[in-house]
């Protein structure tokens, strides 16, 4: 599955615009809780809604089976996060969920979990939310700055509070290392 033509460039522009709205520079650390506040979206830890034991039980059955979800309740969007995740992973999850709202993804697909149907968005929109979430957290100018300081994905992840997986994804897909080397 590929992203629509022009998606990545638009995502970069939009990520910088959002940062300006939040009063952040292109290279500041983005706090996803501030971003959620800005969007008037509530973030709730799943253990406030169900017992932590049940979340741990699901995690034992399958690690990462549940990461996060955005529920629409009485016309409001509420992001529910999994308290068992690291802060970095939680940030990625929240950025991903908020991206769905930014990108105005409709809940048109039905995904069935054990016979219980959930209205969710299309798989290509999931990919777009992941790409946009990564761009919000680590826009290109920020990555270029990091590469100039000779930081690799591990240092980027640590400094900007994201997972190493996300840092590597952005590091590789934006081609920033190549751009710096080419100079």
């Amino acid at each position: 599955m590929t992203l629509p033509r022009g998606f990545k460039a638009n995502a970069e522009r939009e990520a910088l615009r959002v940062r300006r709205e939040l009063g952040l520079s292109d290279t500041d650390v983005l706090n996803v809780d501030d971003l959620a506040d800005h969007l008037k979206v509530k973030i709730v830890s799943a253990e406030k809604l169900v017992s932590r034991t049940r979340l741990e039980e699901l995690e034992r059955v399958q690690a990462y089976a549940f990461s996060a979800a955005t529920f629409q309740v009485s016309g409001r969007n509420i992001v529910v996060t999994n308290p068992l995740r690291t802060p970095g992973r939680r940030a990625s999850d929240v950025a991903h969920e908020l991206s769905h709202l930014f990108l105005k993804h409709d809940l048109t697909e039905i995904r069935e979990v054990n016979g219980m149907p959930f209205r969710t968005c299309r798989p290509d929109e999931e990919e777009q939310a992941t790409a946009f979430g990564g761009t919000l957290m680590l826009p290109r100018p920020l990555l270029l700055g990091a590469v100039r300081r000779q930081w690799g994905p591990a240092q980027i992840a640590e400094h900007y509070g994201v997972t190493e997986e996300m840092a590597r994804y952005r590091y590789n897909t934006t081609g920033v290392a190549k751009q710096i080397r080419g100079r």
Binding site: L58, A69, F71, Q72, H105, M116, P117, F118
Partner: protein
């Protein structure tokens, strides 16, 4: 009392889609009534439930009650009325059965060949047809979860998401969120 379907709540077409219709499980109602009545006589049970003796007798035997009787009986049983509505697809012959019928009617195929193709079709259908739009109203949520769930995970995840949604609705209604 004559059965009157028009008095029963109709499904919202927006929620269930054009291919689905809710079916009222009258047999289940009769079974539960009999079970709940236990050693009580029909007359005693009818008095308790607030319906007439003859109505209870008929409903227990499988007749469809009117809405007022149905509501009283649900209250007496202590179950939600929605319990007796099972969504079913209106399509009576599945596309798979249709395809298999066509295969068996094809003069170029021997019975054995038709059976072999049918068996492959059945396997494929079982594996791929699960994403059909279900008839029950769905929870609305963007879900970030593993794309493939191991045995035991789907049930737990579905229960968790349902309970999360219920609790969120409660908190929002109570003004706590």
């Amino acid at each position: 009392m004559s059965p009157d379907r028009s008095q029963l709540p109709l499904p919202d077409p927006e929620e269930t889609g054009p291919d689905a219709v809710e079916q009222f499980d009258v047999a289940e109602l009769g079974r539960l009534l009999k079970e709940h009545r236990g050693p009580l006589s029909l007359r005693q049970a009818a008095a308790e439930a607030g319906v007439s003796f003859s109505t209870l007798t008929r409903v227990e035997a499988g007749a469809q009650p009117d809405l007022a009787t149905f509501t009283r009986l649900c209250a007496w049983l202590g179950v939600a009325p929605s319990r007796f509505f099972t969504p079913t697809a209106t399509r009576e012959i599945s596309p798979l059965d249709q395809a298999i019928t066509h295969l068996h009617a094809d003069p170029r195929l021997t019975d054995d060949a038709a059976n072999k193709i049918s068996s492959v079709l059945r396997d494929l259908y079982d594996a791929l047809a699960k994403e059909a739009v279900p008839a029950v109203p769905a929870l609305a949520c963007h879900l970030r979860a593993a794309s493939v769930l191991r045995p035991g995970a789907p049930q737990r995840l579905a229960d968790l998401l349902t309970d999360m949604n219920t609790e969120l609705e409660r908190l929002v209604e109570a003004g706590e969120l």
